[in-house]
């Protein structure tokens, strides 16, 4: 066991780089996915068939085929004749992840926008807001808090999908697990370490997204602000002790009763 830890400590710098590659893929993929999601999601809602039909086709295509097939298609087929497009492995990974999860996320965008109350649309029209203005100032701020929990799930899926990158020559966390296994010849140890690291990444991202969700909800007047959630307020702690049931911090009411 101590030898295992020594080998792991020796590989630590490379592990850091591997995690960085995984994070790069995640971040790049997520940004591209968000872009794709909004373009396709809004496109699918458009009234003209010229926008809605292609959006739906692209959406169904990337949702309907497997990520593995897409990533390898980009990596192995694209450099061959007749395309001769040789992409950097990192670009391949980011594009495949972005398109695949972007297609899933576009459905989220479409559904969330559709579920904004109809009266809001009518009110925005009655106030003579233009389509862009209406979407940006009225509809999206309300749809956004609905989208974030589903985006969180997709982001975790994206992190997990990024493990494929090891097979297109990228030295990500998955690759480092294999290296650690070679160094220690201990399968259980190396994979446990690797899976725990993936878990840590996913958990950190979940926490981050939960914070984002709290902020988005606060902006449309639901729930306390992020600062109120994070602050250690002595007044509230005492109130917590006083109540029979311990309250979760996020359920605490905003500091109306004599807070700072």
């Amino acid at each position: 066991m101590s030898e295992n830890l020594e080998t792991f400590a020796g590989l630590l710098p490379q592990f850091g780089e591997g995690i960085l590659v995984t994070l790069q893929l995640t971040l790049g993929g997520a940004i591209l996915a968000l872009l794709v999601a909004f373009v396709l999601g809004l496109g699918a809602r458009a009234r003209t068939r010229w926008a809605s039909v292609p959006s739906r086709v692209v959406m169904e295509f990337f949702r309907g085929t497997s990520l593995v097939v897409q990533i390898f298609w980009l990596f192995y087929v694209l450099p061959l004749p007749p395309f001769y497009v040789e992409l950097d492995p990192m670009a391949c990974g980011i594009i495949a992840l972005g398109l695949n999860y972007g297609a899933y996320a576009s459905e989220v965008v479409r559904g969330s926008i559709n579920s904004v109350h109809k009266g809001q649309w009518e009110a925005a029209t009655a106030l003579d807001l233009g389509p862009v203005h209406r979407l940006r100032r009225v509809i999206l701020p309300q749809a956004w808090p609905l989208m974030i929990p589903m985006f969180t799930n997709l982001l975790i899926q994206l992190v997990k999908g990024s493990a494929l990158a090891a097979y297109i020559t990228l030295h990500d966390l998955n690759f480092m697990i294999v290296e650690l296994r070679r160094g220690t010849t201990d399968t259980v140890f190396s994979y446990t370490v690797g899976l725990l690291l993936y878990f840590a990444i996913a958990y950190a991202l979940t926490l981050l997204m939960n914070a984002l969700e709290a902020r988005a909800k606060n902006k449309v007047g639901q729930g306390p602000s992020l600062r109120e959630i994070l602050r250690v307020a002595p007044v509230q702690t005492r109130a917590e002790v006083g109540t029979p049931k311990p309250m979760v911090t996020s359920q605490l009411p905003p500091t109306s009763k004599g807070g700072v």
Binding site: V69, P81, I156, K160, S162, Y191, F199
Partner: protein, 214 residues
Amino acid sequence: MDTEFWSWEHAIAVLPELLRGLQITILATVVGMVIASILGLVVAIVRRSRMRVVTFPVGFLVEFIRSTPLLVQLVFANLLFTQFPSLAIGCVVLGVHYATYMSEVYRAGIDAVPKGQWEASIALDLPRSRTWRAVVLPQAIRNTLPGLGNYAISMFKETPFLAFIYVVEMYAAAQAYGGSNFRYMEAITMVGLLFLLVSYPTSLLVRRLENRLA
């Protein structure tokens, strides 16, 4: 090596192998889904228990399996249990991974059963097991069917991961053909099309089911 864009000859030549692979793909999906839907229900019921000694470890395990990559889990299990065939390991790992998702679907379904149903069962003095079997689950499972279908489709699309533990499913068959004939274009594109051909009608079916049950 010919450099034409698309050769129908190759596209047709690769088909029989792909169809053989498709059988394995579907087999893995079906077996995985059976495991996932049973284990998921068990996990969902266990997590409703009031004993923290039980719920805490199960909750952690579910979170852990859910947020680590399926690919890494597959390779790990395959290296660990060398005495079993890869296909069996693949099915079980797929099943366990998706059971963690399914347990959430079941949980939502069980939560959606109105509280009055529980109270009515207590009023009728039904034993706990009978309450679950005869009152709650029949209503809950009806709610979960669309979720089940959606996860079956996404599991179907994750089966190419099995290629990495040397199961010759559709994707591995295409790789093999591409490697021996230098025609990746047709082989891999055909795999994509076959996936679409199976998953799109299934997703339409699930959507109809969703509309009919809702």
